[in-house]
Every structure is written in structure tokens, then in C-alpha cells.
């Protein structure tokens, strides 16, 4: 064959029509992360032929973090496999959590083959695109341009999300869906998520059904199943999630949700088996290993719990997503295996590792210490831990989250520190007076402590206290005494800082005060603070979304930040 003698004809470089807003990739600042020097050089050459001048390189996750901490990059090309230390996903997670990258930064994850992670689609921190080696200049340019245009489309929506104004974000999605065929499905997916976050599953369901009319997308099927799960239709949810897995064995999120469905049906064994399968398919998720460990502990499967907690600690070593739970769980396992010495060692490690980011670590390790002693039959030391805990509770008004409170109260009863236990449960009821499931749980704790009547009486009194606080504020509001109502709710909030009903009503009263008496920046920011606090306590409530939207609409347009008009 003598092909080379033929005249050389350059084929079309691009069939994509040049759009007016072509991106200038020459001026951007790039970071290339790969442990293989040859690949770094190759990528650098490719970037240079796009005109790039500012290209930094890192050969490991640690080195990349060092650079990211100092320099704001426009584009990051990061290999998923980086040898020992952090992997690409962990670098991405840490960069996002520590705010080392801008929302506009393009993050491309590179791997040698199609990765499981790239189709899970549910990970909290996703790169803008996954690229498979070998990467040629043209592929790089195509993907960079695509991601850039996508970011333009989603810029305003992402901003509204960041401000937690989910309803505004959803409206922006609708406007875009009408004109943008290319991103239609992605926008629909976003809108469905926003509807879920705003506590409107019915509207989310409509969106998923609209997608499925077009094509069989497993994320839409999983979305419908999630709504069933939230509605308490556990059996239907189970079937739907299993259907998703049958279609795509790597849709890992469906496993986590399926396990949750089983758990809600009281089928812990099945839930554990599913999580174990998911952990096998995608073993590098700190969260999944942690959930598996906790579930195994509940099941009394110490071998499985130990394995999961150890794996969780091992992968967490380089991950910003790590939490003390695996250490505390593993300490419990050691206690059950009659090795309290190793348990205490783990608790010390946890105290050292998490002292900075987890202010409640002292309390939590002390609770675990008490449980370990109690479960291994050392009642004297368990009682000592109970006394320490009582002293710690007295020293501060801060209380841990509800599950920790319940665990702590149970322990305190078990070791005979009754007063502190009752006081703690009183706090729980006052802050959750309208949550019947929780009231039942608290009553159960009293029953187990052989104090059923005390429980009934305490719950009734605390419930009434909280209800009175709220009703008085609402009465003032309804009778038009707005100023007094705001002041009353402010005090109520001090008395019961984590009561969602009271917090929502406080925000509601402040919003109507702003509506009727004109905008006041201090009052608005107080309302925002309250709403963010409720959202932190329990995300995804409809009232949160509605009040956030009302508040943002009240904001005077002068500063332009809140009500940026749609282009």
C-alpha cells in the first residue's frame, strides 16, 4: 500500500459550529495531577498546544493539596489513581470542602478505564467530567468546552442553590428547560432534586415521570423509588431499587437506598447483606463502610462490624470525609470482644484526631467508654463514666444531636445516674414536642429503666411547656402585636433552641414583620440564621423552602445579589 504518497488532506477539525462565546483556554491557570511523569508531560504538551502558559504539576494527592491551598486554578486535570495516599476523588472532596476551588473551576477526573464511580451519579462531590486515557488534544478541548458551556447554563441555578433558595433555582431550571434541548435531561434531574429538597415529592415525581416518558433512565427510576421510601411505602421502594440494580449493577446509590428500605421494614439482616455487596463493588466510600459497621454492630455481627470499621478508618486516613464514628464503633466491638484496653486506646486516638473539628468528641468518647465498660461487665468503671458524663452535661448548655442524647440517656439509666438522664430526655422532648415517633422512643427508654409513670408524666409536662411557648407567640402574631410576637419568639428560641416548630414559627413571624413593617437587614439576617439552623436539624422541609423564597424576595433589589435577573 502506498498511502503516504497520496496528497495529504486535513480533515475538518471540528463539526461543531463555532459559537460566539468561544472560550479562551490560553489564559487559564492549570493544574495537572498524575503520578506518572510521562503522562504529566503529555498532558502539559496538549495544554500548551491549546495555548496554555500557566501549567503546574503535582505527582501525588498531597502535593496537589499543597498547590491547591496556595493557588486558585481555573482547570484541574486529576488522575483518579495516584498511588499511595489520597486518590483523585479524595483530592476533589477536600478541595471542595475546604473551598480551595471556585465554583467556576473546571475539574476533569482522568482514569485508565471506565470507573464505577463515574456512573454512580450520587456522590456528593462530582467532577465536571470523567476522561478515559489516552487523552488527545481534541478530546480535551471538546470536553473543556462542553463543561464550560454547561457551567454557564447552571451558574445562576447553582448560585440559587448555594443560597438555599431552592424554589428560585427550580424556576430557573424551568426557564432553561424551555430553551435548552442539550441540557434538558440534566436540568430535569436538577429540578427533581430541588423539589425533593423543598419537601415537594409530588412535583419531583412528575419530573421523573416526564423523563421516563422519553427514555428509561435509572436515575429517574431510583428517584421515584426514593419518593416511595420517603412516603413509607417500603415494600414498593424495595422492589423499585432492586429493579434499578438489575438493570445496572453499578448504580451504587440504589444499594444504599435498598438497605435503608430493608432497615425500615425491620429486616436488618437483609440490609446488612446489601450494604456488604455495595461495599464490595465500591469499597472506597467512608460513609458506606461506616453505615455497614454501624448496622453490623446493631446486628451483633462483630466480625463484619470490625472489618467495616477498620476499612473505614484506613480509607478515611486521607479523606476529609472521615468522622469519629468508625473509632467509636470499633471501640464498641473491642469492648464486646472483652478487650477494653484496645477500646480505650482507640478512644484516645479519636480524641486526638478529632479534637479540632468535633467539639463534642470528649462527650462522645466518654459515652462509648461507659458503654464499653457496661457491656464488658465492669460496672464500677461504667458508673464512674456515668458520673463524669453528668459533670460534663452540667458544665455546658450545649447538647449533642438527638440520637446521641438517646444513647447517653440509656447509658445513664443503666449505670444508675437517673437525674441527669431524666434532665437530658426533658431537653429532647421540649425540643421535639410534636414528633410522635420520638416521644415513643423516649417512653421506651423510661420503660426499660423501669420508670414508666415518671416517663409519662415528664413527657406530658415537657410537651405542654413547649406547646404553650409556641402558642403564646402565635397568638400575639395573630392579634397583630408583631413586635411583641417577635420578642416572644426570640425568648422561646433561647429556652428551646432546637425545636423545629418553634423555629419555623419564629422565622414566619419575622417574615410577616418584614412584609408589613418594611425591610430590616438585622431582622432578615436573624430569620436567615434561624432557617439555616432548622435546615441543619432536618433538611428537605417544604416550609424551609417556602420561607427562604419569601425572605429572598423581600430583599431590596438594590444590591443585586439576591434577585439577579435572568439573562
Amino acid at each position: 500500500m502506498n498511502a503516504a504518497a497520496q496528497p495529504v488532506v486535513t480533515p475538518l477539525l471540528s463539526v461543531t459550529p463555532a459559537t460566539i462565546d468561544q472560550v479562551d483556554w490560553a489564559d487559564k491557570h492549570y493544574l495537572v495531577v498524575d503520578d506518572f511523569v510521562g503522562v504529566r508531560q503529555l498532558l502539559r504538551e496538549s495544554l500548551r498546544s491549546l495555548g496554555a502558559k500557566n501549567i503546574d504539576q503535582a505527582s501525588s494527592g498531597g502535593e496537589a493539596m499543597g498547590l491547591l491551598a496556595r493557588i486558585r486554578y481555573d482547570v484541574v486535570l486529576c488522575d483518579y489513581n495516584l498511588g499511595d495516599g489520597k486518590n483523585g476523588q479524595q483530592v476533589l472532596e477536600e478541595a471542595r470542602v475546604r473551598n480551595l476551588v471556585n465554583p467556576s473551576t473546571v475539574w476533569l477526573m482522568v482514569s485508565a478505564e471506565k470507573s464505577v464511580e463515574s456512573v454512580m451519579g450520587a456522590a456528593e462531590h462530582q467532577p465536571d467530567a470523567y476522561l478515559i486515557k489516552p487523552i488527545t488534544e481534541g478530546v480535551l478541548l471538546t470536553r473543556l468546552n462542553r463543561v464550560w458551556h454547561r457551567k454557564q447554563v447552571f451558574r445562576m441555578i447553582d448560585q440559587a442553590c448555594a443560597e438555599k433558595d431552592y424554589l428560585r433555582a427550580a424556576r430557573l431550571c424551568d426557564e432553561q428547560i424551555a430553551i435548552d434541548k442539550v441540557h434538558e435531561l440534566e436540568l430535569l434531574r436538577m429540578k427533581a432534586k430541588l423539589m425533593e429538597k423543598s419537601g415537594q415529592p409530588t412535583r419531583a415525581r412528575e419530573v421523573y415521570e416526564r423523563v421516563l416518558e422519553q427514555r428509561e433512565y435509572q436515575w429517574a427510576r431510583a428517584g421515584l423509588a426514593k419518593i416511595r421510601l420517603a412516603n413509607g411505602e417500603f415494600e414498593q421502594a424495595r422492589q423499585a431499587f432492586q429493579g434499578v440494580i438489575a438493570e445496572n449493577r453499578y448504580y451504587i446509590d440504589a444499594y444504599d437506598q435498598l438497605a435503608l428500605s430493608f432497615q425500615n421494614m425491620g429486616k436488618l439482616e437483609e440490609a446488612g447483606a446489601i450494604l456488604e455487596r455495595a461495599a464490595k463493588l465500591s469499597p472506597n466510600s467512608v460513609t458506606r463502610q461506616r453505615n455497614l459497621g454501624k448496622l453490623a454492630l446493631k446486628l451483633g455481627n462483630m466480625a463484619m462490624a470490625e472489618k467495616a470499621f477498620r476499612k473505614c478508618i484506613a480509607i478515611g486516613e486521607y479523606s476529609i470525609m472521615k468522622t469519629p464514628d468508625a473509632y467509636l464503633g470499633l471501640a464498641r466491638v473491642c469492648g464486646q470482644k472483652n478487650d477494653p484496653k484496645e477500646a480505650l486506646r482507640l478512644l484516645l486516638v479519636a480524641q486526638r484526631e478529632f479534637a479540632h473539628d468535633h467539639p463534642d468528641i470528649q462527650l462522645r468518647t466518654k459515652i462509648t467508654e461507659g458503654l464499653v465498660y457496661h457491656e464488658s461487665g465492669d460496672y464500677r468503671r461504667a458508673r464512674k463514666a456515668g458520673d463524669d458524663l453528668e459533670a460534663m452535661l452540667k458544665a455546658t448548655l450545649e447538647r449533642p444531636d438527638v440520637p446521641t442524647c438517646l444513647e447517653l440517656a440509656t447509658l445513664l439509666f443503666a449505670v444508675g445516674v437517673k437525674e441527669a438522664a431524666i434532665e437530658l430526655l426533658r431537653y429532647v422532648i421540649r425540643n421535639n414536642h410534636d414528633n410522635p415517633l420520638l416521644l415513643e422512643e423516649v417512653q421506651n427508654i423510661f420503660d426499660k429503666a423501669r420508670m414508666p409513670e415518671e416517663g409519662v408524666a415528664m413527657i406530658r409536662a415537657s410537651k405542654k411547656e413547649a406547646a404553650d411557648l409556641m402558642n403564646q407567640g402565635v397568638l400575639l402574631w395573630k392579634t397583630g402585636k408583631l413586635g411583641e410576637a417577635v420578642a416572644w419568639m426570640r425568648d422561646a428560641r433561647k429556652a428551646v433552641p432546637n425545636n423545629q416548630r418553634i423555629l419555623f414559627n419564629a422565622a414566619q413571624i419575622m417574615v410577616s414583620c418584614l412584609q408589613q413593617q418594611g425591610y430590616d437587614a438585622a431582622l432578615a439576617s436573624e430569620a436567615y440564621e434561624i432557617l439555616h439552623h432548622v435546615d441543619h436539624l432536618l433538611p428537605g422541609q417544604q416550609r424551609f423552602a417556602q420561607l427562604m423564597e419569601q425572605l429572598t424576595q423581600l430583599q431590596p433589589a438594590a444590591d443585586g445579589a439576591g434577585m439577579s435577573a435572568v439573562a
Binding site: A4, Q6, V116, P134, T142, R215
Partner: protein, 239 residues
Amino acid sequence: MDDTPNAHELFLFLASTAHDMKNSISVLSGTLERLLVAQSPDTSSKVEPAYTQMAHMLYQTKRLNDNLMQLLALYKQVGKPEYPFDVQPLELGQLVDQVVSMERVLLQSRGIQLELDCDPRLIWHFDEDLIVGVLSHAINNAVHYTCNRVRLAIREQDGWLELRVEDNGPGYPPALLKAGEIATRETAGGVNFLTNSAGLGLYFSSEVAKMHRHRGRHGTLRLENGGKYGGGCFILRLP
């Protein structure tokens, strides 16, 4: 996948070796492309034999990469639910751009003209990485059979997307057409890898085609002679 610890370790070992091989091939083909672009002769001067040899090296490297990619995909059980299959809507312009950019230097260095015929604004749903892989493999193959022209034509027809890679060579030999028939047969297990070096690519491509399903239909693959130039035609149809 097997559940024994040994199988798992073997898998990790294979995965990291494959990762390494991919890196080497990336560097090899990237460097060759760069050298070829730097050395590309203008139309008046005579083509150096070294240039022709380098062009052939690039062709072989592409084959190596295709084979590795296909083996990896088969190891990951392409065609089965075990494969991380990922369908997304995509404009055809984006698809064609990537295929062209992967093949540009090879085609240029072999003096082959690529003709494109598609509506870049048309949106279709498919696994981008797999289809880019299938199309660039088909073009690499066409490089072997063509005289000097390859045509990539994509169009929508009766609810199907038809993607054709045609060349102006003498057409596929009967043995290859036969292999194509076997590899794309409905019933599984039709490939004879031992007697057919082209078997792997065909088998891979037809598995990829079958994975794409919509409303009870699935994608198909066909080899024939004819088309616009009367040479070999590689025809992928996606629902």
C-alpha cells in the same frame, strides 16, 4: 466477579497493570502524534520513508490501544449488567469531534481523507465512551482496508441512529464478512477468537450495540460491502 479473596487480589493486580499499560500507550501514541505533526511533509516535497514508518507505528499503536480497551471492557463484562454502562444525551457534533480528534493525525499521516456527514445538532442517547471507542476502532480498521478515503456518516432513520464508517478500498474479504455475521448473531457464543484476529473488535462492538436498548429494541452491528464508495461498510444502529 468471583467472591474469593484471591480473585479480588488478582482483579486489583490486573487493574493496576492495565492502568500502567494505558499510561505507556498514552505516552507512546501521544509522542508519535507529536512527532508526525512536527515532521509532516508539505504537499510538494517527497515523503521520507521514516515518516511512512512512523505513520505505520502509530497505526499499530492504535491497534494495541483498541485491543487493550476492548479486553478491559470485556473483562469488566461489557454487555452485562456488571458493566458500568452510562447512557447520556449528547449532541452528535460532540461525538464526531472526539472521534475526529483521535483519528486526525493517523489519517493525515497515511494520506487518508475523512469525509463527515452528520447533523451536529442532533441529540441522541448513548454511552459516549463506548461509542467513541467503537467508531475510532472502526476507522482504524478502515485505515487498513481503504485506498485513500474514509467516510463517517450519521443519520436518524425511523427512530434509529445509523452510524456508518465506509471506505473506498476493495471491500472486506469474505472471511471478515463471515466473522461479522457470526460476531453479531443474536445468540451468544458465536465468536471464534482463535481463527479470527478481527473477532475481538467485532465482538466488542456488537456487545456495545446490544447494550443500547430503548422500548424493547436494541442496537445492532452489520458489516457489508458497498456504501457510497463501494468499499467496506461498518454499520452501527442504535435505538
